[in-house]
Symmetry: C2
Subunit: 150 residues, 2 copies
DNA sequence: CCACTAATGCAACAGTGTTGCATTTGAAGG
DNA sequence: CCTTCAAATGCAACACTGTTGCATTAGTGG
């Protein structure tokens, strides 16, 4: 049952990658799979620590960076920096959904939490500026990280 | 004239540091001075490249990190990450003004630009979460960085 | 199955930030 | 002034994140 689901997701990731016009490699499939399954954006370190599927060898550190860059370049993943200055990646499909609400970013653990409020429309920009993304972020400590504080 | 102004600002920085209850050192005065004079948040690298005042020796790299941390710890400076994942620091006084408007963050150069629109009020948070900062950011390329692109 | 390009693995490197420890210095009191 | 002592500094070494160069491997299209 769990196996069947995993296989289905694997195929879908492969299909997305093929449709994007780049080579379908084990690394890309595994990484996109992980991104699509994740509920929060993942850092490079977190993905490197992912359990290798079924007897699959671990992905090389540099290759993982390049796989992530390639997924971003072909539009299948998004890249953004967390509050600690570390890049986090998410599957591109999930951003349409995340564009519709506000986020809370924990300064303690770098985690990203989805809130239910929706962001306001963007204001006008100065001449020559190109808007790529709108982000209405709340920063602070999540319930876990703020537990010990006064 | 310029000398008189500089002296005045130096004194004010010293006074702020003294009032914060920490030792007044050359490094702290110079750094807080630079932060108060800056129109945008400054990175560690940018501050390290600052011209040494008048025959003053350059500040040690590690000491600069510790000076910045101490200014943040005593509430005289703010620390936030830019779109490239590098920390930037600003004088604490300047944030009251920056809290009243929206910012554009350039993904090319990491620069921060102040817009005239004001941010909307924050939504409710889940139980246990502590809000420290609200940020309504627009991301993209500034006029300089986007010049060469199609 | 072949050929050809894109992707990978490995080593070495760069930038940013941290830790440990010996030395210096600011500030408080004598 | 001079003494004292915690706090701040300078330096070396380190950790983490991300990049570059280059030889080898593996997709893909024929
Ligand atoms: Mn979300
Ligand atoms: Mn501003
Ligand atoms: Zn947290
Ligand atoms: Zn720019």
């Amino acid at each position: 049952m769990a196996r069947a689901t995993a296989t289905t997701e694997d195929s879908l990731s492969s299909e997305l990658i093929r449709a994007a016009g780049v080579k379908v490699t084990r690394g890309r499939v595994r990484v996109l799979d992980a991104l699509r399954a994740a509920r929060q954006p993942l850092s490079h370190a977190e993905m490197e620590a992912l359990p290798a599927g079924a007897g699959d060898a671990a992905i090389d550190r540099v290759t993982l960076y390049r796989v992530l860059d390639s997924l971003v370049a072909c539009g299948l993943a998004l890249k953004a920096v967390d509050t600690r200055g570390v890049f986090r990646f998410s599957a591109a499909g999930s951003q349409r959904q995340h564009a519709k609400h506000v986020h809370f970013r924990c300064t303690g653990c770098g985690g990203v939490f989805c809130l239910k409020a929706e962001p306001p429309p963007p204001p006008r920009l100065p001449r020559g500026f190109r808007l790529q993304q709108v982000e209405f972020d709340l920063r602070g400590l999540c319930a876990g990280c703020g537990a010990g504080t006064s």
